[in-house]
């Protein structure tokens, strides 16, 4: 290693680590995430387009209540006036103004979720007038007076009217067990009842309708299921008023008397999340990000006591950008590991960063699924070569045919994958696809150029390095460290300068030349 390399590398490492240490000790920023459970940052993004008329966009906002604490709420919208309207514990965000062209509305908040247990009270209690009036009547959406509904209730043999808990259990059982859930079904209560299958909305409306028809006050509810990875999913359920408490009932999931710990309640009383008047088009989506820090630690990260750092904090970026950066900032760690394996250990891998890319693809699937995919690609490479060799095709069309086969296989998996890990697999299928394509190409070319043995050795080494990188890419500690302390990238660059200037032996050299280290070997 030359002195210049030593010096430059040292300076970079020093700069990176000293900034990191200063932040960690002087500013007292948390280095190790405290492994919080159930803390999320959620962002609602609404895009509205208007033709110059006055109008408003209304969105259901969650409230702090049993099982969920909402804090750190911020809202931003161009050219619109924002207000929060509260009625009966339900909060609605209202953005008013003249809608001209495209408007982007972003509302974000943090939420701490916990499981909500609502034991079903067995003692009878007459609902107060206000509850009965609001939550027992029939409507077009909830046709509790319809003849079909009456007709289904009679043969069920409901318990006596004062046993509201018993009626709830029976009707819940009926909708959960007798009505199938189908994405192709209806969202309407009566159509769902007639077809004996419906979408989640249809099942929930049917349950609420039946409860109301049976004299149990009930209302639909809508919220989000926040996953550990990926985008949140809309989830709907029913709430029944039994002796003073609203009992949650999830007919799709078959959960009664409990709200799961990953479900956030956005609105009860109706299934609408975003409504608009006076605009031409409106679309909305929710984004969510799992937080690794406790609320007070987050505060420290977002607004460090140092004003310059405060303005540089990555924690204040929009959720989508944060999610992308969290992945991106892990890449330097991955390439560091690759450089160590290639230049210090001496493994031969595909391409320079193929292992990092493989690990990045694995990040979006589980390790087993990902490795299975890599093995599948390698099998396909060898099989395709054997099958296509007789046809004598040129290189590019031959690779293109292999790619078509991969697409067909992925499509086939989509059909079978609904029951398997479907969602996890297809959550991030695009990126892994691109990476697998590159892997196929590298593998086929190596196969042709250097033979099966060499191609398998390189594929094996690539997988070894990818598996070594994978835990880093999945680790919430590494993610927090790199995201909260991006100056560490500079330190990594310093270490890479050192590795780049390292002229000593690789482990593979020592193995290759081991016979030269034995004295006796050299005697002719």
């Amino acid at each position: 290693m030359t002195r210049a390399v030593l010096l430059v590398g040292g300076l970079l490492v020093l700069a990176g680590t000293s900034l990191f240490l200063w932040k960690a000790t002087v500013l007292d920023l948390p280095v190790i995430p405290s492994r919080v459970e159930g803390l999320w940052r959620v962002e609602l993004e609404i895009l509205a387009r208007g033709g110059g008329r006055r109008g408003s966009v209304r969105a259901a906002l969650p409230s702090t209540g049993p099982g969920q604490v909402i804090f750190d709420e911020t809202s931003a919208a161009e050219r619109l006036v924002f207000a929060i309207r509260s009625e009966d514990d339900q909060r609605t965000g209202v953005w008013r103004g003249r809608f001209t062209g495209a408007h982007r509305i972003v509302h974000s908040f943090r939420v701490e979720l916990s499981e909500l247990e609502v034991p079903i009270p067995d003692e009878p209690m007459e609902p107060p007038e206000s509850v009965r009036k609001a939550f027992s009547r029939a409507s077009a959406e909830l046709p509790a007076g319809a003849p079909d509904v009456r007709a289904i209730l009679e043969p069920l043999g409901l318990p006596r009217p004062s046993d509201a808990a018993g009626r709830l259990r029976m009707l819940f059982g009926f909708v959960a067990d007798e009505i199938a859930t189908a994405e192709t079904g209806s969202e309407d209560a009566l159509l769902t009842l007639g077809a004996r299958e419906g979408r989640p909305e249809g099942k929930v409306r049917l349950l609420v309708t039946l409860l109301r028809a049976a004299g149990v006050p009930a209302r639909p509810a809508v919220g989000l299921r926040l996953p550990a990875e990926g985008s949140p999913e809309r989830v709907v359920w029913a709430e029944a008023w039994i002796a003073g408490s609203w009992v949650p009932a999830f007919p799709v999931e078959g959960v009664l008397g409990r709200r799961p710990e990953d479900v956030l309640l956005l609105r009860s009383g109706s299934l609408g999340l975003v409504e608009a008047t006076g605009v031409e088009a409106v679309t909305s989506r929710h984004l969510a990000l799992r937080e690794l820090l406790r609320p007070e630690e987050l505060g420290a990260m977002m607004v460090p006591s140092q004003p310059v750092l405060a303005s540089l904090s990555l924690y204040r970026l929009p959720v989508g950008t944060q999610a992308a950066l969290r992945g991106l900032l892990l890449l330097p760690l991955g390439v560091l590991v690759t450089a160590i394996f290639r230049n210090l250990v001496g493994l031969r891998t595909f391409g320079t960063f193929m292992p990092v890319l493989i690990a990045f693809a694995l990040r979006y699937t589980s390790l087993a699924t990902g490795l299975l995919m890599v093995a599948g690609v390698i099998a396909l490479g060898i099989g395709g070569r054997l099958a296509l060799e007789r046809l004598r095709l040129l290189l590019v069309p031959r690779l293109a045919i292999l790619l078509c086969v991969v697409v067909l296989v992925v499509t086939g998996l989509a059909l079978t994958g609904r029951t398997l890990e479907g969602r996890a697999f297809f959550g991030g299928v695009l990126l892994p696809m691109v990476i697998l394509t590159m892997l196929i190409e590298r593998f086929s070319v190596t196969l042709a150029e250097e033979g099966v043995r060499s191609a398998l050795v390189q594929a094996g080494s690539s997988v070894v390095v990818a598996v070594a990188v994978y835990p880093l890419f999945r680790s919430s500690f590494a993610e927090h460290l790199m995201f909260g302390f991006p100056e560490l990238v500079v330190a990594i660059m310093g270490v890479l300068v050192w590795i780049g200037g390292y002229t000593g032996y690789r482990l593979a050299d020592v193995w290759r030349f081991r016979s030269l280290a034995r004295t006796a070997e050299l005697e002719p």
Binding site: L395, A448, Y505, R506, R512, F513
Partner: protein, 319 residues
């Protein structure tokens, strides 16, 4: 740890140091095409009057592949190889014809359409270093000098000379075996036999890292063999590398029965297995070249200097 110290003491060159201190430092990237593209190398050698296998034809385009049978009509034996191939991949040797069959070494054979497909694959870049379009070269097939041919059962043995700053520093001969499929590729199981630069005799032989005294296929002795045309081989290796402008080169030489040593190709990233074949490290010799280097030395002087350095290094090793 002890292994590490021993390797360092014996001056074994590792990959990282080869890359940083030798190939990166002495071989300019822009000069690589001169040696990676065998057609360019050939032109360079011809211009300098350095003996090389004769180029019979070049096939660059797919339509030319159709004309291949006609062009080959008059030839009984030839070699088809990619212009930018690496490690001996994609080379087809035809030794004779038998009706529609093209006979290859080791009793294998192929038909003309197979050869045409192979030529098309070469043109598509299947064997090229970068995978880009390539040209297929047709060369005369060499007849290996009997002194070397008797050591191998099958395939063409060659000589590899490492030339550093115009001075030859280490050499070996690569002897194909049945395990290597007739190829002179050490990774695939060919034998590497170290050559004493001064005397031109084989001193040590290895297959992989295993030292050998006799050829595993037929049991003939491997050590103490005199390389035919050794002085000439060293001279053309040095002259060839002089033309490239590269400072750290592996020159591959074949000894033809009639024409004597011919430069087959040059390599800007020569492998390190030559150290195992010689049982000696490259570093002391490279350092000696640096210490004794003077500008303007002629080829003969530099070859003589290389032999001295090698002799001194082996004496030091023996003591």
């Amino acid at each position: 740890m002890r292994t590490l110290r021993r390797l360092r003491e014996r001056g074994i060159l590792g990959i990282n140091r080869r890359n940083l201190d030798f190939t990166l430092r002495w071989n300019e990237r822009r000069l690589y095409p001169l040696v990676d593209d065998k057609l360019q190398t050939k032109r360079l050698l011809d211009a300098a009057g350095i003996p090389a296998p004769k180029l019979l034809a070049v096939v660059r385009e797919h339509f030319e592949v159709r004309e291949l049978p006609a062009r080959l009509e008059a030839l009984g034996s030839f070699v088809l190889k990619p212009s930018r191939g690496a490690m001996g991949n994609g080379i087809v040797v035809v030794v004779a014809r038998d009706g529609e069959w093209l006979l290859r070494p080791g009793g294998r054979r192929m038909r003309m359409p197979d050869l045409q497909y192979h030529a098309a694959s070469i043109i598509s870049g299947l064997f090229a270093l970068s995978g880009h379009a390539d040209a297929a070269m047709l060369e005369e097939r060499l007849v290996v000098h009997p002194d070397l041919a008797e050591v191998v059962s099958d395939g063409v043995p060659d000589l590899r000379v490492i030339v550093y700053r115009g001075v030859p520093v280490m050499a070996m001969t690569r002897l194909p075996t049945r395990r290597s499929g007739g190829r002179a590729n050490l990774h695939q199981g060919a034998i590497g036999a170290g050559i004493d630069l001064a005397g031109g005799r084989t001193t040590r032989a290895v297959q992989g890292t295993e030292p050998l005294r006799r050829h595993p296929d037929h049991g003939r002795p491997l050590l103490g063999r005199r390389i035919p045309g050794w002085d000439r081989a060293l001279e053309i290796a040095v002259r060839a590398t002089d033309r490239t402008g590269l400072g750290y080169v592996g020159a591959d030489v074949v000894v033809d029965a009639e024409r004597g040593p011919l430069v087959l190709e040059l390599n800007a990233r020569p492998g390190l297995a030559i150290q195992v074949a010689n049982g000696a490290g490259l570093r002391p010799r490279l350092r000696a070249v640096d210490d004794a280097w003077r500008p303007g030395l002629g080829v003969a002087d530099r070859v003589a200097r290389g032999r001295e350095i090698a002799r001194a290094a082996s004496l030091r090793l023996a003591s």
